[in-house]
Symmetry: C2
Subunit: 291 residues, 2 copies
């Protein structure tokens, strides 16, 4: 039981799933969303107790405000919050990048206590329609501290993660943004670039020929572009650095192939397979640790 | 019922699955494989009626020889075949690239009748252990004609594909090699390069942070490097061209991000999502046509 009155701003995949996961496990959930259909559906599902499209009235009575919108909307709400809540409150967020958000949280008045969060789960389908009460179960939920983090807010958030079955992992915001660039932002760009490259060929036989390999590598291209735009712009430096380094890896294999350097090419391919097997084994070990 | 005596050379994922799919539906299957454990297991499963490690004795009595080894082994067997079978026979293959194989088939003596094939299905796990009688069901099976293709061999292969539930699609070898570079070889290289890039960071928190997005984009990195080496070397020109064009796509998005050209970046992301949705819809329409 989370003994707080929550306001969740943004009832999309993340906010909607959190509301569903906490249904009946908290004192009250106030849902804020700009889409009338989402508000109605969340209310009908009992995911939230009260809905409003007005952020000011949504946060007015809340003990804990949870920001579950795209990153740049989170940043703008954090700038508004001191005026909306001169008395301060607890703040948590579920944004996909953490450095800019943690800086904005650190700049809140001392009447606020704030913690950054990012659940490592997702679907390529966005919106409340894809929300799922079990989305966070057994998944890593990264937490990032800032200058407004207190033991009290950490305790409440850890209790909430325990309720939704997520595994907390504290990281610095810088470290988080590096890691997610590698496991999420870069893979997304590779996937989207592949989709654009393939579509540009306008070959009617292409989809008949495609199978599970193409499907898997291209899946992230279906991600919400609005959310991705915020992610890329708020993690620009890291993403550009990693794109550069990755392009070097591609250029290296291109040269091995061009030169038909069979031995070096075989090593390149084999090491990728070995690393993949190592990664899958590490994932399995983590999953059995958590179960 | 395929009324021929078959010799399947190579009882890996593809050859093993074909043997299992044709079990009891053909006069006889002779399996050739260099691994004793694979031969024993295929025999124990009843996937094949006879096994041998000796290609010459395997092909000696066969009406139809099916080559299911990596591409360059197929090419080497095609060079040996006229000496092993001076009387000629029917030849089919399941190699992953088709231009070099079709040229080698065209060079066979006129006593041979030959057709190229490539099933568009796969797993990242290679070998007989991953073989599955249903691997080809409802999947596209590309067929490529060469100068030794006859109506007779086409009829037999089409009957065989009907038995295993695959959907035949005739394409030129050149067209095939272009298409699979886009839907398979390039995605593989992107996946393997991502795996290498991520592993090079040696960050113990990386796998804890990774979720389904990274898993899907990296899955192809687990593919059999021996098979991939043959694929890349026998489709080198096309793969290099596509790597070049793809790198241009990555460089373009990198520049949009570096310049924070928000409008153009949003367009780039949105078109990738639209194309992904179009591709999934096209796949669904193809699947319902075939069912």
């Amino acid at each position: 039981m989370v003994d707080q009155r929550l306001c969740i701003a943004g009832l999309g995949l993340m906010g909607g799933s959190l509301a569903l996961a906490l249904k009946g496990k908290t004192r009250q959930i106030i849902g804020v969303d700009r889409h009338a259909a989402t508000r109605q559906q969340a209310l009908a599902d009992g995911a939230v107790d009260v809905v409003t499209k007005d952020l000011a009235s949504g946060v007015a009575e809340a003990d804990l405000v949870i920001l579950a919108t795209p990153v740049r909307t989170i940043l703008s709400i954090l700038r508004e919050l001191p005026a909306l809540r001169p008395d301060g409150c607890l703040v948590f967020d579920m944004g996909s990048t953490k450095l800019a958000i943690n800086e904005a949280m650190s700049a809140l008045p001392e009447s606020f206590a704030a913690l950054g969060g990012h659940p490592m789960c997702g679907k390529e389908t966005a919106g409340y329609g894809a929300a799922d009460a079990d989305l966070f179960r057994d998944k890593t939920f990264i937490l990032t501290r800032n200058q407004r983090s207190t033991e009290a807010v950490e305790e409440i958030i850890l209790a909430m993660l325990a309720e939704i079955g997520a595994n907390p992992l504290f990281l610095s915001a810088e470290h988080h943004d590096q890691l997610v660039a590698t496991v999420s932002h870069l893979p997304y760009l590779l996937s989207a670039a592949l989709m654009r490259f393939a579509s540009a060929q306008e070959d009617p036989a292409l989809w008949q020929t495609s199978a599970s390999g193409f499907r898997d590598v291209s899946r992230l291209a279906g991600s919400d572009p609005h959310m991705l735009l915020d992610i890329l712009l708020t993690n620009k430096t890291v993403v550009l650095e990693q794109l550069e380094a990755y392009s070097g890896e591609l250029a290296a294999v291109k040269q091995l192939l061009a030169e038909e350097d069979e031995e070096a090419l075989a090593d390149w391919l084999s090491s990728a397979q070995r690393q993949y097997i190592g990664y899958r084994q590490a994932k399995k070990a983590l999953e059995s640790d958590n179960s």
